[in-house]
């Protein structure tokens, strides 16, 4: 399919250059397990020579994600962290990274405990505060690292503003687009240079594959990332590439449904007396609601909320019946996480509290269950907790 189509995003998920196999017409991309490929001449190698360098199944996922992000080149990795680690390999000793302060715990760990040993410096800033971002710039700043909405506090960073700042000092902007996916936000179109994904989450969406991706839209960066992907070799397995492709076919419908449910649940939580605070950029009183509306087509399907106490959180987790209590997010099943001990356990407690990731904070990734069932489940749990604490007070 060489014709240029101007399909909308929903259609592109299904109709792309891999919609059927050129040799036999199969409508699902075949899984090419071959680790190596026969060569016909010493002087001229075929497009594929070794599975780590290129594989047709992995390539199908790579071209699809590049296309969806409106970039030129995509690269698939064995996990989101493998994608992030590979992207950081662009840096050299003596370089500096300005990074969003409530970043995913795994990225925090990579930057503070691995990159620092190789002489790569970092400054954590509140990326919503552009003055603070500018103040963090050093002569050796090479990368601005953004998560938006951030994890787990759902702060929204103005991607265009950060990209402009980065460009003015000759640095690159990396955006982790895991929470929204290109279905809702396309960072490259807003000026970012490198888009990162934990494809384990919404892209594949079924809690059955761990995967990562990088997308760029610059030939020089593409060459560098391609070189690093092959050299480092943290590539995605072929079966997994196929599973991600399969999951992505329903990305739009999943995202739409989950997002509507999330807003409904956010309103419910906001109006509940036992809930102290709700973090969701789809709520009109979210501090960056306008930026979110301007740069994306929706606020996604993850929210966080704070209960009265750590004890209440503990009970809530035990009392709720629908969401799975587990790490991870972005699945057909709703997943309830406790950042303090799960996604952000790698962050020291004082750093966590400084960032507002309290001991009574829960993160909810909303799945495909009926939102009313979730609300009913939560209502019952919160009532039991309230009754219990009332009882204790009386005693």
């Amino acid at each position: 399919m060489t014709k240029e189509h101007n399909f909308s995003f929903e259609t592109k998920l299904l109709h792309n250059e891999h919609k059927f196999d050129p040799t036999n017409g199969a409508v699902s991309v075949p899984i090419q397990h071959a680790s190596t490929f026969h060569q016909h001449s010493v002087d001229e190698f075929g497009k594929y020579d070794y599975g780590r360098s290129a594989n047709p199944t992995r390539e199908a996922f790579e071209t699809v994600i590049a296309n969806l992000e409106e970039g030129t080149n995509g690269y698939a990795f064995s996990s989101g962290m493998a994608a992030i680690s590979t992207a950081f390999l662009l840096l050299s000793q003596g370089d500096h990274v300005v990074i969003t302060e409530d970043v995913y715990g795994g990225t925090y760990r990579m930057v503070t405990e691995v990159l620092s040993r190789f002489g790569i410096e970092h400054t954590f800033v509140d990326m919503t505060d552009l003055t603070a971002v500018k103040q963090a710039i050093r002569p050796n700043t090479k990368v601005f690292y953004v998560e938006t909405p951030s994890n787990p506090l759902l702060k929204v960073t103005d991607i265009r503003a950060i990209s402009d700042i980065a460009k003015s000092v000759g640095a690159l902007t990396f955006v982790d687009n895991t929470f929204l996916t290109p279905a809702l936000q396309k960072p490259l179109l807003l000026g970012a240079d490198v888009v990162l994904h934990s494809a384990t989450k919404f892209l594949s969406g079924h809690s059955d594959v761990v995967a990562g991706a990088i997308v760029v839209n610059d030939p020089d960066l593409a060459k560098q990332i391609g070189f690093l992907q092959n050299s480092f070799g943290a590539v995605l397995g072929v079966q997994d590439a196929w599973l991600v492709l399969r999951g992505m076919k329903t990305l739009s419908v999943r995202m739409d449904f989950s997002m509507k449910s999330t807003l409904k649940i956010a309103h419910f939580l906001q109006n509940h007396p036992s809930v102290k605070k709700v973090y969701y950029p789809g709520l009109t009183d979210h501090p960056q609601y306008e930026i979110q509306k301007e740069q994306s087509e929706g606020a996604g399907a993850v929210l966080s909320f704070e209960l009265e106490s750590e004890e209440a959180v503990k009970q809530f987790v035990e009392l709720t019946e629908i969401p799975v209590f587990a790490v991870s997010l972005g699945a057909v099943e709703s997943i309830l996480s406790y950042p303090a001990k799960m996604s952000h356990a790698a962050m020291p407690i004082e750093q966590r509290l400084k960032r507002g990731i309290s001991q009574s904070l829960l993160r909810l990734s909303v799945g495909l269950e009926h939102p009313d069932d979730i609300i009913k489940d939560f209502t019952a749990a919160l009532e039991t907790i309230a009754a219990k604490s009332q009882g204790e007070k009386v005693r």
Binding site: S35, H38, Y50, A82, L89, R117, F232, Q239, A326
Partner: protein, 368 residues
């Protein structure tokens, strides 16, 4: 204590009691449900730990005589994960004759981060000792080397490494634990491109690390999870499936390689045959550089492809394939010339292999 032949056949059996399955299930789940806060089954998130991957990790640790195994998405991912143990200013001493991909990540990757490498002939312990400086933190050896098939005395190097308090890392891809167990000879870390003999069927890309000692294993575990270059559950299962026939395959590879080595030695169009007497890999130089392409195109049975260690026989041309990233002058100086071919001898009938090589070589003289 069972022999390695028994261990490989039994990988994954008795791993589960509920159904009694002999062949382990593939666990795709990315997340694991917790009953409550702080109540984990031991599995939380797939990158950190996966029951299917855990089986292959335990198996390789057991086969190599190490304490803990780690499965990675490729052999190169295994090497890069190990490189994360070090820091700016550290130095490695590395086998001069080395897989091009390892050379590339050291020279074009980790050099940027301040980790430098010195390349020496590792078969002579004195040469290694002379290269040690205060900053040397690891010795990395391939034995036999790729593609020149030079063997290194692991025990002697291990003693040297202990004397200077340096880590010894051995790439055991070519021999596998069936022929060589570096940890038992004193190495600290063993790595594998499991894509090769361990997987053995040219259908899975994988890497393995085995560590010996608590501190090394803890650090490896941390970086394996932090960097995230882990092996997928399905690929872990494929690797287990491949490893079950490893002992049988290695025997046949070696038997065929021995016969081919002596056949090639006596062929008039072959100059040198490099075969250490063990395993299924050998290299040879043909008489004239201009014959290389015709020779490869003359082959009817043996595949011209990059990679090795599979059931199918492969011939590789290091100059433009595996070692293309090593600058030509360095490549020539160590003997990886443009007449050198690397042969991964498969498990086909050896007479068929000899016939194919013979006709391809003999046609060269008549063409010239």
């Amino acid at each position: 204590m069972y022999k390695n032949e028994t261990k490989v056949a039994q990988i994954g059996n008795r791993s589960e009691t509920q159904t009694g399955t002999v062949n382990p299930p593939v666990y795709f789940s990315t997340a694991y449900r917790h009953e409550g806060i702080g109540q984990s089954t031991g599995f939380d998130y797939i990158r950190t730990g996966n029951p299917t991957r855990k089986l292959v990790e335990a198996a390789i640790a057991d086969l190599e005589g190490g304490d803990q195994g780690f499965a990675c998405s490729s052999g190169m991912a295994a090497i890069t994960t190990i490189l994360a143990l070090f820091e700016s200013g550290d130095e490695w001493i590395v086998s001069r004759d080395l897989y091009g991909g390892t050379y590339r990540i050291l020279e074009q990757g980790f050099k940027k981060w301040g980790l430098s490498s010195t390349y020496v002939q590792t078969h002579d312990v004195n040469i290694i000792e002379q290269a040690i400086t205060e900053k040397t933190k690891a010795i990395f050896i391939e034995t036999p080397t790729n593609p020149l098939m030079e063997e290194t005395d692991i025990q002697a190097v291990a003693e040297l490494a202990k004397k200077y308090n340096i880590l010894l890392i051995v790439d055991n891809t070519f021999y596998t634990p069936l022929l060589q167990r570096p940890i038992e000879l004193g190495a600290d870390i063993v790595i594998h491109s499991a894509t090769k003999y361990l997987g053995g069927h040219n259908d899975v890309l994988a890497g393995l690390i085995v560590g010996k000692g608590k501190e090394v294993c803890e650090q490896l575990g941390f970086h394996h999870n932090s960097i995230g270059a882990v092996l997928s559950p399905f690929d872990s299962w494929l690797l287990i499936r491949g490893m079950k026939t490893l002992a049988l395959r290695m025997k046949q590879h070696e038997k065929n390689a021995r016969e081919l080595a002596s056949f090639l030695k006596n062929h008039e169009n072959v100059v040198d045959v490099l075969y250490p007497g063990r395993g299924g890999m050998l290299s040879f130089r043909i008489k004239k550089e201009e014959w290389v392409n015709s020779f490869l195109q003359n082959l009817n049975l043996i595949t011209f492809a990059e990679s090795l260690g599979g059931v199918e026989s492969f011939i590789t041309y290091p100059a433009t394939q595996t070692h293309a990233d090593i600058p030509e002058e360095i490549r020539f100086s160590i003997g990886v010339c443009n007449r050198l071919l690397r042969f991964s001898v498969g498990i086909e009938d050896v007479e068929d292999l000899i016939k194919d090589i013979d006709q391809a070589l003999t046609r060269l003289s008549s063409e010239a």
